[in-house]
Structures are given as C-alpha cells and as structure tokens.
C-alpha cells in the first residue's frame, strides 16, 4: 500500500470515517457527509483558520476542546464532535459576531440569495441579533480596479481574496490594513487591484463585499439559469458555468476542475462573455455588391455563393479557407470534410501565420496539464504564459512553488514565470535552436552563460520521460522556423519527453486534430494517412499539400484565389502582414465571412454569414492537452445566426452536395469511426456525469484514475448551484471519485495508430533555416509580444474589458537603452525604414536581450504589425522630443 492509499480512521459525531493522512477535519468530514460550517476555508487555498466558524470539539489529552476543523489535520483515533451544545454555541456566537457589524443590506446586495453568510446564518445562526450599537461605517463600495468594487461594510475579513491574490496569483495587490475592529481589506495607495485574475476574488468572496462591474445589479440568483460549459477565451479549456437571465448572459463562474482550472478563471475569460451580448452582433446574412450591402435571407445568400463557388470548384486550389480556431470540434470536422472532400482543396488553415508548424503537434507525444505540473522539468519555449494561457500560468506557478517543478525557460524577454524558473535563458531571435543545441549536446566545456550551465545540468539530470516542453510562439515577428527547430531538437534529443501545446487560440488544437491545417486529415493524419473508413466516407482527399495562411494571402494578392472563406478569422488584424492581407482581400472575387462579430476583414466580404456564438449552441472544444469538453448552450442564437457546421451543410447543399449530417450526433457517428484519435467517443459519452471534466484523446485506458472531481461547492464558489439548489448549503459534488469514462471504451488499436505516426526525427520534417542577416549598428531585432488584453475583437466588444487594453509599449534591455541614451518613460518612434509608429512609451527591462526591441502586439487593426512584418526585419527607435 503506498502513501496515497493510506487512510486514517477517526470518529466524527459517533461515526467512524476514513480520511487521507494530512487531510483537514473539515474536508474529511465533508466527504463523510458531515458539513461543518465555514467562511475562510476554501478547498483551493491554504487554510488560515481565522473566521472560527468551523469550531468543533476535538478530544485531546486534556479532554475535549474547541478546535478549528479547517486547520487541524486528522489523526488516527481522533474523536470529533461537530454538533455538541458547546460546538453549536461557538458557531452561533461566531455568526452573531459576524453579523454584529454587517450592514444587512441583503435586499440590495448582489450576493443575496446565494450568500454563504445568509445561508449559514439560516442554518446555524441565532434568530435575532442582540447588537444595538452603531455599526461600523465605510463609504459604500469603492472601486478598487476597473472591474472590481469593494464594500468594506460587508467584508467579514475571511482573508480569501487576499490569500488568492498573494498565494495563487502572486500579486499581493489587496491586503489588510489597520487592526482590531477597524481592520479592512484595501489596495495600496495609488495602486489599483489590476490583476488578470481579479474576478476570482469576486467569485470566492463569501459575502457581497467584492462585486464585479459586469454583474453588479444585473440579476437575482433566483432568476438565473445555468449550464456547464468550457471557456473558449483561450485554449486552456477552463471549466465554467454560464449563467443567464432572460436570455442574456450575465455571469461566468469557474468550476472546480481538478484536471484543468481548480475553479480559477482569468478576467478575459470570465468577463469576455459581454461580447456575446454586444449590439454589434451579426444576425442576418448580408450580401454586398460593390459598396452597397443588403441584408438577405439564408436562401438568397446561398444562391449568391453557389455561383462563384461552382466556378471555382473546377480549380480546387483557387478555393481557400482561413480560420477555424474559434469553431467547435463538430464545426471543424464538417468544414474539413467540405473543404477537403467536396471542394478538394487543402488550402485550409486554422492558424494565421502566428502559430507553429502543426506537425510539431501531430507528430509528438503530447503532454497533459497534469503531466506538465507533475514533470521534473518543464522547458518553456513559448511567449509569456500569463499573457497567453493565464490559468495555465497559475497551475505552473503553483507547481514551481509547491511541488518542485523545475522550469527552464528560453525567452527573448523576462516573463511572469521568470521569478519561479530554475533557469531563465535570455536568447535573441534566431538563436533559439543554437541555444537548445548547447543545452542538450554533450560537450566537454562548461557553458560560459551561467543560466545555460544551470539549465544544462537540470536537463541532463532529468528522467527524459519526465521532461515536458511547452511549445508556443516566442515571437510573433518574423519566421518561427528557428524556434520550431529548437522544439524539434529538444524533443529529438530527449526520447520519451512530451510536448504540451502552447497554441493559444480557443480551439486551435481541436482544429489541428480535425485536420483543419494544410497537409492534414482528421485524427492527426497526414493527407496520405487517411484511414480506410475515412476514404469510404469522404470519397476523395487532396493529394497536394495546400497553402498556409500567409501563402493563401500571397496567392490571393497574386490573383490566384477566387473564393476565400474567413471563418472566425481576421487576417488584417491577426496575420503577420496586414498590408498583404488588405491587398489579398481586395483582390479575391468572393470573400465569404462567417462571423459572430464584424472585424477589420469583414468589410472586404461580399457575403457575410452570421454564426452562433459559443453559448448559443452545443458542441465541444479541445484544449491544449487534447481534452475534449462540452460547450453548453444557454441562449437561443442571435437573430438568424447558425452554428458553423450547419452553415457548411447549407453551403454543400447549395452546390448540390450532401455532407450527410443532420445533427451533431451524425457528425460524431462519422468522426468517431474515421478518426483514430476520436475513436470510441460520442456526444452522449461526452455528456455523461463521469466525463464532465472532458475526455483526453486518444482514450488510452478505459479505467483511468483521473477522478472526475468537479465539485459544486456553494460556500467555495457562491452562486454555483443557485439554480438547482435551495435550502441549506450542501456540497453536491457530481461524479466525485469516479475513475472511469463511463460509456467510453479505450481502443488500443486507435492509440497505436496515433502513436505509430510519431517518429524519432522531428527535425527532419522541418525546413533548413535561412541565413540570418547580421545586425547593423543601431538596428534592433524585433520581438512582438502578446498581451492578454490586446484589443482583439472580443475584447473590444466586451465593454468592461475594452479599457483594460494597454497602449502598446516598446521595451529594451538596460544596456541597449544606455547605449542609445534613452530613459525609461520617454516617448519613442519605431521605424522599419519605410514606415513608422510614433508615440510609444519606452520601457527598460533588464530581462531583455541586447540588441532586441520588444513591442507589444496590439489589437484589431494590427497597428504594430504594420511596422513589424517580414523576415530578417531590423528596426530603429528614435526619441521624440517632449
């Protein structure tokens, strides 16, 4: 019996229960069905034992005494009484104390109806207060950031928000000040609570002290409807509940998923739902003739599309599709079939030239988030994870701090994980492969760079099976080849190591799995690897590898593309070269935009087809670790908008073809046969209680030991079961302790078929690098860096997030700044020789390599990309007079 199976026996209220060693009494009792009241205790935070609500009697050497159940670990033979008169008197007393100064403004408090203080008072508290004194007063809610309001009168000093900020997010921006009765939570003077994770404090506040702007006074708990879903703000796949009131989204809450998000969300994911409610939503098909746009019926729009499409079909390579990362898996499969089987084109790309060679993902052993946090060494070859995959950052940070994960980071500039990294190597663009080589190659001499020496020793000493490479895009400027070769070099050198995808756009990983990238078919197959079943179903597949997004745009600008579909894609803002995108879109005869919201590229579309948003349809999505989880439908779709898979079916019908799908069940019936990766899955299976955290594909074992540990704990996350639940709080964990994917059979041959495509020589797949032009004096190599709030389409349409997008800034290293005589804070102009970008704030950061300039990527119009595009680019910066 190993440690994890060991149990401790104790007696709670006269019943013997079993618990894990080290577990706190409160958690052990809860599992045995005894709910001990609590406020400060939160299952995802370190206990502090301050509210004293959980006092129970515990027998010690000197008899029974009152002890905090959240702070005392179980012990063999321990006797605990939670309901004695003495324990009840203490709990009653604590509640009366908490209410003494509480304003009791429940009727106007957002928490009313889902408030742990209300609920627990109802169950455990005194009927009446004996407090006749003047209550403590503070000015009613004060904004502590653009998103969060603090009402100090309602605060019960539970330390949850402050612990979250300090321990989980690593930003102690809110803290206690004062003492005694005048203790209060507050921010530091002049420092707002501006954190990417601030919404979590609102989520876990057990009273209405912290409220978030987007939800304030929007709904009452008893009016809410709720469905479980997956966040698609990025590709982490955080599990959420989506709540609406009167067919309008009002709130997302993080679900506690053991595998993924531990109940946390980032603010972009949490509040981005506002874009679904945006008044700019596209609700009607639109046809444009020249400059005149007119709304049309779906029939008209399809008729309008059929004609150019029929013409273009004669030359399949003249049809291309850009986008798809914002689609559900089912849409992607149907669109993949439409493109590759019906149209016969392989020029389909869900990435926009800002990702990675998809073969890095289809030809490697893929890691899960659990693999990454449980690894010995995690090598980061990606952008700043906090900016790109925020909740994954929280998981990695925690692992580095508390479970010994060693992070080796290769980066162009210091990142949010640099303080937690065992080794952080600052490399210049173009030097990544060479640096990785020096890390893995045997050589007699000690590397001169100390961080490389440390990293080399760490990697050499690690079990290769416990090395995970987090592969994202380190630099949005220039070619990604050097970095891709670096990833391949590392993985080739460490057989057994695994790759965790760092591709960040919503369902981009699902798109790759559905073959929605050039050279691929569903199930991570190359064009030549289609299964017999796939060929049966699809009849034909392209033989020529198609164009990637930059190639499609270049071909379009050359007049080689006749019909271009943009599905949830805005190449003007997101592809590397906005000017090329504009020229391309202007040149293509028929641009078809399938979108939920207008963007910079839709104005070039001759046909706009409105798509349903995520919360308006069923479906599934795939996260960075190949976990497929469901999207919940909460709203009816806006206007005449439809899910994208239906739109594909309509388009096929318009040109006289039948894709063979009438429902998403049909899609899965085919997908689960033709794709080795998805073999054995179905929509029903994905929706069963034991798979509510999603299913990792390929399904490797039918009895896997990842407990589906999705708990709905209304004291940990108030409001989460407000719909189904009334009466005293209880913890109705669903599917807890289940250790199987019910209804899903592992399929050994499918796993083998996916694995068999992984060869040992990834590097051979990649092109050889081009010459890198030498750096001239005064020239700087650009690094384009993503920020979480980047002013993208969704952010611009989420009214409370719009303002959070910072103006792009320019960052250089200390010696670069010194050699140029620039001071931090000055305004500079960025120039590439032909065009300029003025009025940028200069930041000096010692963590930036010499000769490198880091520029923040900004949003919708691709402002910074206009200056930074193409390979071997060199920039200069000029000081502006102040």
């Amino acid at each position: 019996m190993n440690d994890s199976d060991a149990t401790v026996k104790l007696v709670v209220d006269g019943h013997e229960i079993q618990a894990k060693p080290g577990e706190m009494i409160i958690a052990a009792a809860e599992k045995a069905g005894v709910l001990i009241p609590r406020f400060c205790y939160h299952p995802r935070l370190e206990p502090v034992g301050v509210c004293r609500m959980c006092l129970v009697e515990v027998k010690g050497p000197r008899g029974f005494s009152l002890q905090p159940a959240c702070y005392l670990p179980v012990a063999e033979g321990m006797e605990v009484v939670t309901n004695s008169d003495k324990a009840k008197k203490a709990q009653d007393g604590v509640l009366e104390y908490l209410l003494a100064n509480h304003p009791l403004d429940c009727p106007v408090c957002d928490k009313g109806g889902e408030c742990p203080l209300q609920d627990q008072t109802f169950v455990y508290g005194p009927g009446e207060s004996r407090f006749v004194e003047e209550k403590r007063h503070y000015p009613k809610p004060i904004p502590i950031s653009k998103l969060v309001y603090l009402d100090r009168e309602r605060c019960i000093q539970c330390d949850r928000c402050t612990r979250f900020a300090d321990d989980v997010a690593g930003e102690a921006l809110i803290n206690f000040i004062g003492r005694g009765g005048s203790i209060q939570v507050n921010t530091f003077p002049d420092k707002p609570f501006s954190s990417y994770f601030s919404g979590n404090t609102v989520q876990i506040c057990p009273v209405g002290a912290l409220t978030a702007t987007p939800y304030r006074f929007k709904a009452r708990p008893w009016d809410l409807e709720q469905v479980e879903s997956t966040c698609v703000g990025c590709s982490v796949g955080c599990q959420i509940v989506v709540q609406s009131s009167e067919n309008e989204l009002v709130r997302y809450l993080g679900l506690d998923s053991e595998a993924v998000n531990h109940s946390w969300l980032c603010d972009k994911g949490r509040f981005g739902f506002e874009s679904v409610n945006s008044s700019d939503r596209l609700g009607t098909p639109t046809i444009r003739n020249g400059t005149a746009a007119k709304e049309a019926s779906w029939t008209e729009a399809m008729a309008k599309l059929a004609e150019p499409l029929n013409r273009a079909r004669k030359r399949p390579e003249s049809i291309a599709i850009i986008g798809g990362a914002h689609l559900a898996n089912e849409d992607l499969y149907v669109w993949s079939k439409l493109a590759k089987s019906i149209f016969g084109t392989d020029s389909v790309d869900a990435q926009l030239g800002d990702g990675l060679d998809p073969r890095l993902l289809t030809r490697t052993n893929r890691a899960t988030i659990a693999d990454a946090v449980g690894a010995e060494v995690l090598v980061l070859l990606s952008g700043d994870i906090r900016e790109e995959l925020p909740v994954l950052f929280l998981r990695l940070r925690e692992a580095a701090i508390s479970s010994g994960l060693k992070i080796v980071e290769l980066t162009h500039a210091a990142t949010s994980l640099t303080p937690n990294a065992a080794a952080s190597i600052v490399v210049s663009p173009g030097q990544v492969e060479a640096t990785v080589r020096s890390l893995v190659e045997q050589s007699g001499q000690e590397p001169s760079d100390p961080s490389i020496a440390v990293a080399k020793a760490i990697i050499a000493g690690a079990d290769p099976n416990r090395i995970v490479v987090l592969a994202g895009r380190m630099n949005q400027a220039g070619s990604s080849l050097d970095q891709e070769r670096a990833i391949a070099t590392l993985i080739d050198a460490k057989p057994g190591s695994k790759l965790l995808s760092g591709l960040r756009r919503a369902n981009v990983n699902g798109a790759i799995d559905m073959g929605f990238v050039p050279g691929h078919l569903p199930g991570r197959c190359a064009l030549t690897e289609g299964s017999k079943e796939l060929i049966d179903a699809w009849k034909q597949v392209p033989t020529q590898i198609g164009r990637s997004t930059p190639e499609i745009l270049a071909a379009a600008a050359n007049g080689e593309i006749d019909v271009l579909f943009l599905i949830g894609a805005d190449p003007i803002s997101d592809a590397p070269d906005p000017e090329l995108s504009e020229r391309a879109l202007a040149k293509v005869g028929t641009v078809v935009s399938v979108e939920t919201l207008p963007n910079a590229s839709t104005r070039f579309a001759s046909i706009i087809l409105p798509a349903a948003a995520f919360t308006e349809r069923m479906g599934s999505t795939t996260n960075v670790e190949s976990r497929i989880s469901l999207l919940g439908q909460k709203l009816v779709s806006f206007g005449l908008s439809r899910p994208e898979w239906m739109i594909a079916v309509e388009i096929a019908a318009a040109i006289g073809e039948d894709l063979g799908f009438e429902s998403m069940h049909d899609v899965w019936r085919e997908l689960s046969v033709v794709s080795p990766l998805h073999r054995g899955l179905s929509l029903q299976a994905l929706g069963s209680p034991g798979t509510r955290e999603g299913v990792l594909v390929p399904v490797r074992r039918s009895r896997v030991s990842i407990a589906s540990n999705r708990s709905l704990d209304p004291v940990a996350t108030p409001g989460i079961i407000s719909v189904e639940h009334s009466g005293p709080p209880s913890s109705s964990g669903t599917g807890r302790g289940s250790d199987a994917y019910p209804g899903i059979e592992a399929n050994a041959s499918a796993v083998e078929s996916v694995d068999s495509r992984i060869s040992g020589d990834l590097l051979d797949l990649l092109a050889t690098p081009n010459e890198v032009a030498p750096i001239g004096s005064g020239d700087l190599v650009p690094v384009l860096r993503r920020r979480l709030f980047d002013g993208g389409t969704m952010l611009v349409r989420s009214k409370n997030l719009t303002e959070l997008a910072p103006a792009p800034r320019v960052t250089v290293g200390g010696s670069t700044a010194a050699s140029m005589g620039f001071a931090a804070g000055s305004k500079v102009t960025l120039s590439n020789g032909t065009s300029e970008l003025p009025d940028l704030e200069l930041v000096v950061d010692r963590g930036v390599a010499d000769g490198v300039v880091v520029v923040d990527l900004d949003g919708e119009s691709g402002l910074t990309r206009r200056v930074i595009q193409g390979e071997n680019l060199r920039l200069t910066i000029k000081l502006e007079s102040v």
Partner: protein, 434 residues
C-alpha cells in the same frame, strides 16, 4: 512578614555608569558569558537553567529550561528576545533595557550559546526610543569588546545579534505575531499547533522566544549556579521577580522581590515599596498580573506573590504588573478602559476577538456613559462566553491567540465582583463617580 527584596536583575539599575561597557565590566559584567563560552558546555548551562526552575517572565510563565529542551533539532535555530512590552501598566522590561542593556545582551548571548542559536534577534518595542538607543550602543560595544561576533572571547562560539524595533502594535508581543513581524509581515499570530516557535518558528526554523527579564537572569545563574537560584522562592516559582506596581499607591515603581516570600499586601503597603494608599483610601480591587488577568478583591491581598499561588485564586501573575485600584475608582470605567485597549489592539484576524472585543467595548461604554440596560449584564457575560466558553479560568478559547481570552478577564470579574456598581450606573443613567 518581613520583606524579601533580593536583587538579581535590578542590581545595577540605580548605577548610571553601568549603562556603558566600562561600568558594566566594573560590576562583574561579561564574567558569566566568559565562563559560559570558555568553561561550560551548552548542556551544562541548560542543566543549570533547568535546575533553576526559571519561569518565563513574559506572561505565560513557562519554565525556560523546559522550553529549551523542547527546541526541535535543526541545523538552523534562532533565539528571539521579546522586549515588546506594550501592556498597560507593564514597565519592568522598559527599565531593564534602559538601565542595564549589557545585562540583557549578555543574557541573550548565554541563551544563544546554550541553545545553539544561529542568530539572535532582540525585538524591542518601537516606542522605547532610549531603550533602543542604549541596547544598540551596548551591542556595538559588545561587538568591539569581542563578546559578540566571531570567536567570542577566543572560543569556538560565534554569533550575531540583531536589534529590531517594533512598529507599535501590542499584538506583536505575542510570540508568533512577533515572529511574523520580524519576517516583515503583518503581526498576525500563528495558530498553535502547528506553529509552536520551538518547532516551526522564525523563517520556519525552530526558535526560542524569551522575555527580556527571563534572559537577564542568566548571567547571575551562570555565575552562581541554578541550585543557588532555586534556593530562592518556593515550589515552581524560584528566584526573584520584578513587580511593576502602579495605580493608587503612594510609591509606584518596579520592585524586585524573592518569589513567594511576600504577599500583595506586603508589596502594596510596605513603606519601602508601595508605601500604601492615599490617606483614607481602601483597596477596592487589584489586577495581579497585567490587564489580561482577572481581578482580585481586597479579601485576597494576603495571597503570596507566586505563580501557582495566584493561579490558585483564579488569576495569574502574568507579566508581574500589579495595578491597585482604590475606592475612588469606578469599576465600570476601569473595565471599560481595559476593554477599549483590547478592542483597539486585537489584530483583527479572528472573529470572536475582533467583533467580540469591539462589541463588548461599545456596551461597556454605553453603561458608563449612561445608556446601560439591565439586560446588558447578561449580554456582556454571554459575549464573554463566546470568546471564553464557560468564562472560566484558566480560559478556554474560541480564538487563535490568548489576546482574545484576555478581553473577558476584566469585564467578567468586574461584573461578578461589582454587579451593584453596574446596576447603579444603569439606574442613575451615568457614572456615580463623575
């Protein structure tokens, strides 16, 4: 009964020269440290201290030798000297740090040697401006003299001593809050278990926290032996204690007395000591060990000044500060003042202390200022019960540290002893003493 003054820790306090190194050396200073590091093993010193039955002088009265023996094995251990002394009417350490700073430094070094500390910190109340200056000067002189630093007096023993000023919160005298404060955090007490300093202390390392007076006894013990020390006193209370006497006595001040040889009455009325009360005044109540202690009545003045002796009558000797209240004192007002102190000084961390403390203070204020109701007395007792279940002594507690349970001490004893006076306030709608 004759008075038994015996000077161990206060022997130099009337000698202004002894503040400096030369004066200190001239009165036998640093002989003990020399003997300790050159001739005695740490075990030998620990044995002496164990024999001495040196009870902690900071308030809890835990035997120093036993505390040291519970220090967990570890490569790094710390010694922290608690000089935060912020309790109203407690001023004994104040005198020691100002008038005999070298004795404190020497005592700390002996303790550091005995327990194998890696470093010593002296945490001194921030408002002790002169004390801070003098202790720092003493540390500097001791470094130069070779009593601190590398190879002390040529021995193998090396240690550094750091002086740290507090920032003005009473709670930082509580040993775990003190450690948090030393670590640069808010002074929130830690929960015991598991955070017993001797197991998980400063920076997570096993740590001994001892009071200024406690360690100031060590030079004498090393020079004279633990046996000699335990010749003084009776039972568990050995040696001497500094009693900080204040309130309605003619001669308030610090008096060092052999333990258990004298009564409260002796101390209060002896002409050499308290000098009695103002003419015509009677003792109404005595707070025997700092404001955390339940009060004693005039009928308890013959209790002996010893730890167990005071405990036997339901209170504590605590920090050794004795407050005498005569019959001109309003008991409601006195208890309110103390409640107000605790309400302000609660760290605010746990609900019963934070909310209970300020609620009790508000009710007490109401009674004193004329808006009391009869039911307030039951209410107060029940509010106390929610902090100290049973309102008994020694207290059980619903709180993290024992500041919380200190709140009921005064309020509950005042109500129990002077219920009529409370009722008079309520009936007359104000304070009859005004």
């Amino acid at each position: 009964m004759t008075l038994a003054p015996f000077k161990i820790v206060s022997k130099r306090v009337d000698d202004p020269e002894a503040v400096g190194l030369q004066g200190y050396l001239a009165t036998g200073g640093y002989q003990a440290l020399k003997r300790a590091v050159l001739d005695l093993t740490p075990e030998a010193i620990r044995d002496q201290v164990m024999q001495a039955s040196l009870l902690g002088r900071g308030g809890a009265g835990f035997e120093a030798g036993r505390k040291w023996s519970m220090l967990k094995k570890s490569d790094v251990r710390y010694l922290v000297i608690n000089g935060d002394e912020s309790e109203p009417a407690t001023f004994k350490d104040h005198m020691l740090v100002e008038r005999d700073p070298h004795q404190l430094v020497e005592g700390a070094l002996i303790a550091g040697y005995a327990i194998g500390a890696a470093r010593i910190f002296i945490f001194l109340r921030g408002e002790f401006a002169l004390g801070l200056e003098r202790v720092q000067a003493a540390i500097n002189e001791a470094y130069e003299y070779g009593a601190i630093g590398r190879n002390i007096f040529g021995s193998d023993f090396s240690i550094d001593l750091v002086l740290h000023p507090g920032a003005g919160a009473y709670i930082c005298g509580e040993e775990t809050a003190l450690l948090e404060s030393l670590e640069g955090k808010r002074g929130f007490p830690r929960i015991k278990p598991p955070y017993f300093p001797a197991v998980i202390g400063l920076y997570g390392q096993p740590t001994i926290v001892n009071n200024v007076e406690t360690v100031s006894n060590l030079p004498w013990i090393v020079m004279n032996g633990g046996g000699e020390f335990s010749e003084l006193g009776v039972g568990r209370s050995r040696g001497t204690r500094l009693f900080a006497l204040s309130g309605d006595v003619i001669r308030p001040g610090n008096y060092e007395l052999e333990m258990v040889k004298n009564t409260f009455r002796d101390l209060i009325f002896d002409p050499e000591m308290g000098g009695g009360l103002a003419p015509g005044r009677q003792v109404k109540a005595v707070i025997p060990g700092g404001v955390s202690a339940p009060w004693l009545g005039p009928d308890q003045l013959d209790v002996l000044l010893g730890q167990d002796e005071v405990a036997a009558v339901g209170s504590m000797l605590g920090s050794g500060s004795i407050i005498v209240m005569d019959d001109s004192t309003c008991m409601v007002r006195a208890a309110w003042r103390i409640a107000k102190f605790f309400a302000r000084e609660s760290c605010g961390q746990c609900t019963p202390c934070r909310e209970g403390g300020s609620w009790i203070e508000k009710v007490m204020r109401r009674i004193e200022t004329g808006s009391g109701r009869e039911e307030d007395l039951d209410l107060l007792m029940d509010l106390c019960d929610n902090i100290v279940p049973g309102v008994s002594w020694p207290p059980q507690q619903t709180t993290i540290c024992v500041l919380g349970p200190s709140i009921p001490s005064s309020v509950a004893t005042a109500i129990r002893m002077f219920r009529d006076e409370f009722l008079l306030h309520i009936k007359e709608g104000g304070c009859p003493y005004e």
